[in-house]
Symmetry: D2
Subunit: 331 residues, 4 copies
């Protein structure tokens, strides 16, 4: 299922080494000012290039092929294409036979009966997050009042992220990390019981981002160790402001007007330079595996902008859904 | 949005103190043996009654009003009703005015402009999980090979759960907990990229369960502190069996044939006997609040069967979706 | 698929001779005044009892089990149940073996592999329109400005409907009819290109009504014989009023502010008193068939209120969807 | 809403004079042999060029940018792009101000608050059917056993279609037509009660095709004039074969194994060369209007292949949905 959302709907397509990655956004209200320039700061932040990120370089220029006229959204579907330029044909035929640990090689081969495109992970590649980020840039336009910001707060278990990355590079290894996201200045009341509380939409999207293995809102897993008298946030004014924010800005699945706060756990990149072992599916024998190609020593470095994007996508859909029922957001 | 699922779809309805709680299941294949008795062991496990759970007693007898004929599902929608018998009319009119900390009182009032049913939390009540559990019982029938089991592994930060509950009761307080779920004997290949990996469906449903504040798969948040060489699970046979299971049985969002493992964080019950403060929305003044009524000192005690149910629901939907595309599960 | 709608969503369940028929409406805005009384005029019009309708009598009292509080919708799902009281257990086991001409006996048996409930047509019964009519009553509440009215304009090829029905009764036969529906005082602009024009939603719902075999909007099939210069409706004022209405109030799939007009063709009731032939599926031999039980000589007589209901349902969903994108209806 | 389908899902995008028209198909089973060549016969039939069709020429070469690898579908989304080459920038700014009779100019302006792309009808253009036809070519691959064929059976009220078109061209006018479609060799049992009978899906898609104003299955509107004893089709063998086919191959919304037969009414092209009148929305005054540009005197000539495409799309979705529930088609 490559579509997400009820009123603000995004559909993504593409493979790592195919011709294009793209996204179609349907349900965007007409009259939203939008141009290709609006995507650039988002895309720039997602790009590789810094220490600990893949040497694969793509210019990632967005091409909007429908849905904009005279600088505004038209209300018709908005399709944004990106070209894959820096692909390496290479020989990926061996991949399914000797599945790389941590990757989708084995599982995709099972699910798609050997017909999936294995080149660079195909449709499972982190490159698809390009489409998410583009959709996030559009979603954010619908939430001009929201202040959404995510950052990497630890990597490889350390808050000295620079040193942790150096270490991983030196060892030919990779490291995971924790990304925290905050969204401020949200109206109270966004979220759709029973099945679409804010946490459900955000976590649904977060786990679609390759490498995410956990998510927690507010006090999160710490809440499992707390007492109600500690965890409950006291409401201090008629706007719903609370003295503490253990709830992470959400009660009953709805935003409560305080900062929405959550963290995601990013696993270490599965592709490492170190020698690994795997099974040869055909022969049943153990083989040694050296993963060549280009990869990110710490993919978590590139995750924050993706998390901001999915937050905007989830909130935009909830906002439009609530608007449909007469809800008017007040900040 | 009170419907979940693509092929195996569940729609729930009801309020804590309304006439009925219920669920309609659409898309269930015809010919599945099913009777009201099949629900009983699931419902029994969800019931209150033990130490640390609410004294509200309901017999929770399922009434199947459609979709079964001669002991089998017909392929038409299956609707299961439960009566709310042990309700207490009481005076809930004061609730919205003085929202209880940790509850949806304030946020629901905002979202539904004061028209929501506030009695016992209305549609936000944990009582709605009754419908989830009933749906889970049906879903599990479609996965006869699966071995799904969840348990409370800590409460209030302690593994001596009995003592932790005693403590909370003595203090008139509540405690949170951590529930772990394992699903064994799953086929490799369940999950729908890009937006419906296994983790996305399970987390989406998990956060619909009141009080859940975090979820992690496999190594989860620990993965943020690990290296790739540690986290990668080595494949050891052609069935995809791995030497370790840091991935929690999922690669690229698809089951890999190893045990699916995840944990959820349950916050402490928001209703406590201790005196609390809140704001009076109308006057803007701080008021003291004593929450009467019946509540669970440790709601996490009742969560495991709900987590098993949502796991079955997510896997049943993924199984049928994969079947639609020619996938045949092999365990 | 027993759910319809994007923002205003209805899910129906039940069988002709099961315990209950029902409908759950999700996405209804909070604060809409609604009580069980509001359903009565709609349900009364759908009831049998007049000449040419089945002698099966049901009181069809609606029981709202969720979603209403203090006389208003709450924003939570609204579930309405009806009891099947006047059922006749009888022996339906023979049905699948000797499928009745014109009925779903054979096709349901194929689709549901023999597990469908065959009693009175089971989930295929026209009795399910009870749920549609109840949903229509709620939908209409969201369109207070709309003036929706349908009527039977011919039966058995004659406009003297009374005589045509008498004839059919005398012959132990049944007759079809044509129902026309008009919806006035609609805002211009309802409809969702590309796949959800007004005609698509209405026709989708219309063909879900048992016995409907055709639908046409405005000039409809006559348009196939017309010239553009005849068919084009000249716009005569800035409100979009047109001199003629060959378009049936729709351009480009969107309402144009003129009366929405369409007609549906209703086939003659398949159950007739006359002797018929069919095949015995097991033996492969031709058998004579006498259909007992109760039936409508002219089911078209009971269709108008159902058509009004589906029109309201389609328009309510389109209205809320448009509202989500900032559209404000102006009549 | 620009997405259609439950399991076989299509999303279309593009405008008449924008950069691209395209479609994304999600849910297509992996392993279906497919190449760009497969689209050509379908696209060729849709092309303009013959008498009575627009002189706008487009080569309409399909560019598959994702979802195919080594000549087979991969199971990931399949996106097919077409370029709009033969566009004419021109001045369309006047359009909304003086809406063309029969077109969506006025209604789109209302719905999209003036932000829609008016050039050549924008997203409302018949050019979007290019995307439908491409999707139909893929859908048909999933139904190798089906024999789907549509043709124009009358135009401007005459079966001498050639003469009727000559006449229209001579008069600078346009004419409508009737298209009939037959689908043979279908399994019995396709269709999803209650809301997704075969007729509902086909009609939903048919009315998304610009200019369609009516649809009827089997005897269709004639059924309104018939008796049950005439209309009922007698089943003559255990495969469900019937002596007559008034039902058009459908009972209870499910295919019955006989030929699926339906007809659609196509209105005359709204753009004609004759002088017309309309209102100037800004001034409120009547103005004369001459529609320049390129148009089809009988758009119905180009409709048959589109109708075949939507039939294949509807049946493919129903087939996959049924497969999900264990249905195995047998022809």
């Amino acid at each position: 299922m490559n579509t997400f959302g009820r009123v603000f709907r995004i559909s993504i397509f593409g493979e790592s080494h195919g011709k294009n990655i793209g996204v179609t956004i349907d349900g965007c209200p007409p009259g939203t000012p939008l141009s290709e320039k609006d995507f650039l700061p988002w895309l720039e932040r997602r790009k590789a290039g810094g220490k600990g990120t893949t040497p694969r370089k793509e210019d990632d220029m967005p091409l909007v092929v429908s849905g904009i006229f005279k600088g505004h959204t038209t209300g018709a579907p908005l399709t944004i294409l990106f070209e894959n330029k820096n692909t390496r044909p290479g020989d990926y035929s061996k991949l399914a036979g000797t599945p790389r640990p941590g990757h989708a090689d084995f599982t995709a081969w099972k699910r798609f009966r050997g017909f999936n495109d294995p080149r660079g992970g195909g449709h499972f590649s982190g490159r698809l997050t390009l489409a998410l980020v583009a959709a996030g840039a559009v979603a954010k336009k619908l939430l001009p009042w929201a202040d959404i910001s995510a950052g990497l707060i630890s990597a490889g278990g350390s808050t000295d992220i620079n040193a942790a990355v150096d270490n991983a590079l030196r060892e030919g290894d990779s490291i995971g990390g924790i990304v925290e996201c905050r969204a401020g200045n949200l109206p109270a009341g966004l979220g759709e019981p029973f099945f679409d509380p804010v946490e459900s939409l955000i976590s649904h999207l977060a786990f679609a981002v390759p490498a995410i293995k956990g998510i927690e809102f507010g006090s999160g897993f710490m809440a499992g160790s707390m007492k109600g008298s500690e965890h409950n946030d006291t409401i201090t004014d008629t706007g719903g402001r609370t003295a503490t924010n253990h709830a992470g800005g959400i009660n009953g699945g709805l935003t409560n007007g305080n900062d929405l706060i959550f963290r995601v756990a990013v696993k270490p990149t599965s592709s490492i330079s170190k020698k690994q072992k795997t099974i040869n599916i055909d022969s049943g024998k153990v083989e040694e595996l050296i993963i060549g190609g280009r990869h990110d020593a710490c993919i978590a470095l590139r995750v924050p902008v993706v998390i901001e994007a999915i937050t905007a996508i989830a909130l935009a859909d909830l906002k439009l859904t609530a608007n449909a029922q007469g809800f008017q957001e007040v900040m």
